[in-house]
Amino acid sequence: MALSREQLAMRVAQELQDGYYVNLGIGIPTLVANYVPQGIDVMLQSENGLLGMGPFPNEQEIDADLINAGKQTVTMATGAVLFDSAESFAMIRGGHVDLTVLGAFEVDVNGNIASYMIPGKLVKGMGGAMDLVAGADNIIVTMTHASKHGESKLLANCTLPLTGQGCIKKVLTDLAFIEIKQGKFHLLERAPGVSVEEIIKLTDGELVVPEHVPEMNI
């Protein structure tokens, strides 16, 4: 069965390592913070100027001066630090963040990603996403494998305006965990109960399938 939003977050959380500085995008990536494995500490970077983001506040803690990149009220973890936007993106662009998790509309076999604009529909803007994909070495894209109409989002070539070129190496969809290298998708894991055939059917770009494709351990 396709992974739920929570299960996607759980699987991403398995990639966390102790001492990682992590930037989590809006949406599913944000949920990853709820599933950090025991014995592992990570520090969350929020690109509006906070390293060491804590949980959402309770009613008494709400502070209009303390928000995350999604404009939600948040708190600070112990040892947090605040800074300006230039410093925040120096950190991001300079490759100091260990892991970035973000959503996308499309990715392709060359590691291109499209995530900020659907021409003709509303243009929301790229926010910090272009800097994040350009600056990070270690990125996990989380997305649904295909649209509701069964159109693949894992393509030979992205059709939408790009957020970044050749920068994505790992994609976790609701159906599969996929690595991108040498101009191809490589199937690493499948969602529990999802068949390799279904993944192949819903993947437009060239997909390399090993003999044995393990089920994810959620």
Binding site: S46, E47, N48, G49, L50, P55, F56, P57, N58, E59, I62, D63, A64, D65, L66, I67, N68, G70, K71, Q72, T73, V74, M76, L82, F83, D84, S85, A86, S88, F89, I92, R93, N112, M117, L122, V123, K124, G125, M126, G127, G128, A129, M130, D131, A134, G135, P161, L162, T163, G164, Q165, G166
Partner: protein
């Protein structure tokens, strides 16, 4: 030190000299850390044809969104414009021009504008619509695009505390783009919650030195929250 006293006593004085078709650089991220009274004054002045450089354009009826009501803004330079219906409407109708700029590039362009750096290279946006028409250059085998600095006729900034010399301290994530904006205005106007005497701020903990600040006014702030999010008790 009268020559260094930046305090002005009215919003009119704070924004004196702002005229049609000028460029205004504004601090703030969403509605967090925005110079509410200075924005209100611009609306009150009804200055038109403005180019506004700011990460966002507020929301309908608050923040920079107020300047959309009477179509005072000709062009926005922003990274994110979502969640503002009036903005969308003026954009789609062609009344409002938008130069979408990645958030980190925008922050760096403001900093460069204040720091005498006319241009810099970044990998951000290479191979995307943002890179179109921009010079591409390779360093150590990777491709980068050239981005130019931004300066404003005015910068409008929100800080927490200031001393009368214009030394500024920001609070929490209300800092965001404000320090860079402060450096990039020909005239930099700052609205703060509290003004103290010189010597009362810790010199090691001042975020913006007063040399960048031309005018200072004490405001009162609504601090509207866009996404009020609480955890389960």
């Amino acid at each position: 030190m009268s020559g260094f006293n930046k305090v002005v006593n009215s919003y009119q004085e704070a924004m004196a000299g702002l005229s049609d078709d000028m460029t205004v650089i504004a601090g703030g991220f969403g509605l967090c850390g925005i110079p509410e009274g200075l924005i209100a004054e611009i609306r009150h002045k009804q200055t038109k044809g403005l180019t506004v450089v700011s990460n966002n354009c507020g929301v309908d009826n608050f923040g920079l969104g107020l300047l959309l009501i009477d179509k005072q803004i000709k062009k926005m330079v922003s990274s994110y414009v979502g969640e503002n219906a009036l903005f969308e409407k003026q954009l789609l109708s062609g009344e409002l021009e938008v130069e979408l700029t990645p958030q980190g590039t925008l922050a760096e362009k403001m900093r460069a504008g204040g720091a005498g750096i006319p241009a810099f290279y970044t990998a951000t946006g290479y191979g995307t619509p943002v890179g179109e028409g921009k010079e591409v250059r390779e360093f150590n085998g990777r491709k980068y695009i050239m981005e130019e600095a931004i300066q404003g006729d005015f910068a409008i900034v929100k800080a927490w505390k200031a001393d009368t010399f214009g030394n500024l301290v920001y609070r929490k994530t209300a800092r965001n783009f404000n320090p860079m904006a402060a450096t990039a205005g020909k005239i930099t106007v700052v609205e703060v919650e509290e003004i103290v005497q010189p010597g009362e701020l810790d010199p090691d903990a001042i975020h913006t030195p007063g040399i960048y600040v031309d005018r200072l006014i004490k405001g009162s702030f609504e601090k509207v929250i866009e996404q009020r999010t609480v955890r389960q008790a």
